[in-house]
């Protein structure tokens, strides 16, 4: 059995409104990814040479961090389905902690690039690299804010096994943030 995020009615987990937001976000990221991919097709050498300056270990580490944070969120949802608010809060805190680790790693990466004199105007590759990863960075922050709001409500006993749509809503958004990075990492850091 999978860990269900929702009941068996076939509905999307969480509030439907968040899914409108999620689909809109995915569309924007999708366009961004394809713009990068086709810009690369016209500047293959430039993109390949510039990509060598990226820290692939940081990119891979951040992928593992986001996957793990998503897993923690799954555990938080499972906990509230078991009517265990305390455990739900702990898993959410762990997920937010992993989000913080992502931000710290990314800030070190940004600092490294800026100290090397790299900016948006360096070349087309770095324009995409910096804007794409910063755009995603902002989504991680928003995801953490949403998870924190869910955590505080869970801590005050605001959710139960019978009523936890807010937890599922926050979880769905956080998984979207993870999903986008799963594509961004190979696209920007690996494919050459």
């Amino acid at each position: 059995m999978d860990t269900p995020l929702h009941d068996d009615t076939g509905a999307l987990p969480g509030d439907f409104a968040i899914w409108i937001f999620i689909f809109a976000e995915l569309l924007v990221f999708g366009v961004f990814f394809l713009a990068y991919a086709f810009a690369r097709a016209n500047n293959v050498e430039l993109f390949n040479e510039s990509q060598l300056q990226l820290d692939r270990i940081s990119g891979a580490a951040n992928t593992l961090v986001l996957i793990t944070s998503s897993y923690f969120v799954v555990r938080a949802v499972a906990a509230i389905r078991d009517d265990d608010s305390r455990r739900c809060v702990h898993w959410l805190a762990a997920a937010i902690g992993m989000g913080s680790v992502f931000l710290v790693i990314k800030m070190f990466e940004f600092a490294d690039k800026f100290s090397a004199g790299i900016s948006l105007s360096t070349n087309t590759f770095f324009m995409f690299y910096l804007s794409l990863t910063f755009f995603h960075f902002m989504h991680v922050i928003l995801g953490m804010v949403i998870l924190a709001a869910v955590l505080f409500k869970a801590r005050s006993g605001g959710y139960s096994a019978a009523s936890h749509i807010g937890v599922e809503t926050g979880a769905s958004y956080w998984h979207m943030v993870d999903l986008v990075w799963l594509i961004l990492f190979p696209l920007v850091y690996v494919i050459h």
């Binding site: 059995m1 999978d2 860990t3 269900p4 995020l5 929702h6 068996d8 076939g10 509905a11 999307l12 987990p13 689909f23 995915l26 999708g30 990814f33 394809l34 991919a37 086709f38 690369r40 097709a41 016209n42 293959v44 692939r56 270990i57 990119g59 891979a60 992928t63 593992l64 996957i67 793990t68 998503s70 897993y71 969120v73 799954v74 555990r75 949802v77 499972a78 906990a79 389905r81 078991d82 599922e168 979880a171 769905s172 998984h175 979207m176 993870d178 999903l179 799963l182 594509i183 990492f185 190979p186 696209l187 850091y189 690996v190 494919i191 050459h192």
Partner: protein, 91 residues
């Protein structure tokens, strides 16, 4: 249904995602390139993404339309990245 039974498959999914991320990283570190390598990386990415959609987001239990919509999105994005890579090779 016990919690441990519910959680265990998700832990397996997490482990699989970790392993596949390691494989993708190693492909990059090895400096491998070419259409076959990129196809492998993109199929791995598609598979990983669908695992997140199905098992983490929980869409395996949602109506097939929603799951299909997200799979279609992932297929188009990964497929078009592959097409763009091919265009780059032929330039």
């Amino acid at each position: 249904m016990s919690t441990s039974r519910l959680i265990r498959p998700c832990t397996a999914v997490w482990l699989l995602l970790v392993i596949l991320t390691g494989v993708t990283y190693l492909v990059g570190q090895a400096g491998l390139s070419g259409m076959a390598v990129v196809a492998f990386v993109l199929i791995t990415t598609l598979f990983k993404s669908q695992m997140v959609v199905d098992h983490f987001m929980g869409l395996k239990r949602a109506r097939p339309f929603w799951r299909g919509l997200l799979f279609g999105y992932l297929l188009i994005v990964c497929g078009m990245i592959g097409v763009a890579y091919y265009v780059g090779l032929t330039h």
